[in-house]
Amino acid sequence: MNITNISLADLRAGESGRVLRVSGGWGVQRRLQALGIRPGSTVTKVSAPFRPGAIVVSAGGGQAALGYGVARKVIVEVYP
């Protein structure tokens, strides 16, 4: 099985992954949790901009937008 660990910022649109870890401050972690992005949860990337910018993922039954800097702090294991 081919598994790679990358950040949400590098995940391609349409790909899904399981969240391994979220770095960053407690406030950021807490807000991401509220949107269904926490270790163990499954996220699917909906959109990625042309250049580094905000992305949209679907997670926890809804969608969430993350700035590029935050997206880089979320490490996922890509589902093959």
Binding site: A13, G27, V28, R30, R31, L32, Q33, A34, L35, G36, R38, V46, S47, A48, P49, F50, R51, P52, G53, A54, V56, G60, G61, G62, Q63, A64, A65, L66, G67, Y68, G69, V70
Partner: protein
């Protein structure tokens, strides 16, 4: 008196539940954070009056933003909590619910957007959820009123389930357990709205959609606004109101003080609704005949986009641009609201996390975002000289808005926080809710703006009579004439702009300016100083020190831009 708190995540329909329970009219939209200030209303429960408080949305009880702090602070004051939960997204709603259940306060759950959940193939077993949470659960559809009666009648059953404080980990596993137990999903195809929702944030499709919507919004606002003026308001004023006013004018006798105040001056023996400047002529025509139609059309379009759920998607697309201005994508929403009226726009900056962001956002709104009243007058007067001039004004203000944000981002210490935002699903707006929202905003305009317009017209007449304006005009003459290329009397309009910008543009209309001069004048007027209502919220929001900085920026940037435009238009 019993205090009932209405609590829930952002964008789960708390305000709609509030409106249903109290009969009060409140604004709700399809994006998180519509309620930044708490609203309260009365309701009668079993013959007893109770106070219902609509608490701003929060995801849990560990306050992060200014708005969430308000929510947590209010928990100590309440007697009962109605926890509004999104039935279509239990996983996201339950963290707050569990936090509440761990507190020593009676809770009842309103399982809202029940219809939406069913549409999306999500069904929730209410009995099992009641058993799992240990408090009453009532399915509701607040927007249509379904289930609200039952909710009200069962508030008395709310209770404290007496749950122990959980750790973060325990809470998540509990949520997982509850969701798998009470929720069942039926497979279904993706809906058109879901596909459209995703297309709106993907760059290849999202940017063209945004451009199309922007143009469409503009065309529709103009079409409805101009249509109403041409079909209804102008004929009404010209052929019904004017003959009446002419008779009144003859009765009062031109030249009397009362005539000057009520009718104003006659232009070639006739009433000119823009130039006469009497209370019953210009004082009524400007707010009702010129501005009101645009207020209506703007809020119909904005309300549709809000309730549909487009604004958060626009925020995603503009995130990179807004970062250059020290903000993130969210900050576009206060600026868009500011296009209607700066006051709600500046109030909406509370949703931004840091003081620095709030300062930048509020300042660029008050300088670079023209309100609908001002825009309507610009179209009405400057538009006669050709759309090109109006485009110059819009283009200049947009550049100022963007550049000022850029400069403040460079000058002010600190950096902009990152965007973390829920993207709500697209929902077809309910015509009833949309109509009500437009009506509330119109009523607010009629109630708050029209008296100020009348006061402004009255004040102008009296001050002219006293001669204050001549002195002011003499003092500021060098700036007006040399720097801005305007006649020295233009300063009077600028001063009146402090009361109402629409009245001020009306005064410029009476000055016989060239198209170029009018372009300079309305641009400076838009930037120079906010109207008094905006000034007050700006002060409340920023405090004296930052308000002072903001005012210096206004004066400096408006004079600079005015001087440059003056050179360019000649």
């Amino acid at each position: 008196m019993k205090k009932i708190l209405l609590m829930g995540n952002p964008n789960v329909g708390k305000s709609a539940v509030f409106a249903r329970l109290t009969g009060a009219r409140v604004i709700s939209s399809n994006y998180p954070g519509t309620t930044v200030e708490f609203t309260q209303g009365m309701l009668t429960l079993e013959g007893e009056k109770a106070l219902l408080i609509d608490v701003p949305g929060a995801y849990d009880l560990e306050a992060a933003s200014q708005v969430e702090e308000v929510a947590v602070g209010m928990l100590d004051e309440g007697d009962v909590v109605i926890n509004v939960v999104d039935a279509s997204n239990l996983e996201r709603s339950l963290p707050l619910t569990l936090h509440l259940l761990e507190r020593n306060i009676p809770v009842i759950v309103a399982l809202n957007m029940w219809d939406d959940a069913l549409h999306r193939g999500i069904s929730v077993d209410v009995r099992k959820l009641e058993a799992a949470l240990g408090v009453p659960v009532v399915p509701t559809v607040a927007i249509s009123g379904e289930g609200i009666k039952e909710l009200a009648s069962r508030i008395a059953e709310a209770r404290v389930p007496g749950q122990n404080k959980r750790s973060e980990q325990e809470r998540w596993s509990e949520i997982g357990r509850i969701v798998s137990e009470v929720q069942s999903l039926t497979h279904r195809h993706r809906t058109f709205l879901e596909t459209l929702g995703d297309a709106s944030v993907k760059p290849w499709t999202g940017i063209p959609i945004a451009a199309l919507l922007l143009v469409a919004a503009f065309v529709v606002v103009r079409f409805i606004g101009e249509g109403l003026i041409g079909i209804a308001l102008e004929p009404l004023f010209e052929s019904v109101w004017k003959p009446l006013m002419l008779r009144l004018s003859a009765f009062l006798g031109p030249g009397s003080l009362l005539h000057a105040i009520v009718i104003g001056k006659l232009v070639d023996g006739d009433i000119d609704f823009v130039q006469s400047f009497g209370l019953l002529t210009t004082g009524l025509f400007v707010p009702l005949g010129m501005v009101l139609p645009y207020i209506l059309s703007f809020y119909v379009v904005l309300g549709f986009l809000e309730d549909f759920g487009y604004l958060p998607r626009l925020a995603v697309l503009l995130d990179t641009m807004m970062h250059r201005m020290g903000l993130h994508g969210w900050a576009i929403i206060p600026s868009l609201l500011g296009l209607g009226c700066n006051v709600p726009g500046i109030l909406a900056t509370r949703i931004l996390e840091t003081r620095r962001e709030r300062f930048i956002a509020a300042t660029i709104i008050s300088i670079g975002v023209p309100c609908t009243a001002l825009q309507a007058m610009i179209w009405g007067l400057l538009g006669r000289h050709g759309a090109g001039y109006v485009i110059v004004v819009y283009g200049t203000l947009f550049l100022v808005w963007a550049l000022l944000g850029r400069v403040l981002n460079i000058v002010l210490k600190g950096r902009s926080p990152e965007l973390i935002m829920e993207i709500p699903p697209y929902r077809l707006p309910s015509p009833r809710a949309l109509t009500q929202k437009v009506w509330m905003r119109l009523a607010a305009f009629l109630k708050e703006a029209v008296p100020v317009v009348l006061l402004g017209v009255l004040a102008v007449n009296i001050l002219y009579f006293v001669g204050v304006f001549d002195t002011l005009a003499r003092w500021t003459a060098p700036v007006m004439t040399r720097v801005l290329g305007l006649p020295e009397e233009a300063v009077v309009a600028m001063a009146v702009g402090f009361l109402r910008k629409d009245v001020a543009v009306g005064m410029l209309g009476a000055l016989d300016l060239t198209a170029g001069q009018l372009t300079v004048a309305v641009t400076v007027l838009a930037m120079l100083f906010p109207c008094i209502a905006t000034f007050v919220v700006l002060w409340k929001q920023l405090g004296w020190a930052d308000l002072g900085k903001s005012v210096v920026l206004m004066l400096a940037s408006s004079l600079l831009v005015g001087a440059v435009l003056n050179v360019l238009v000649h």
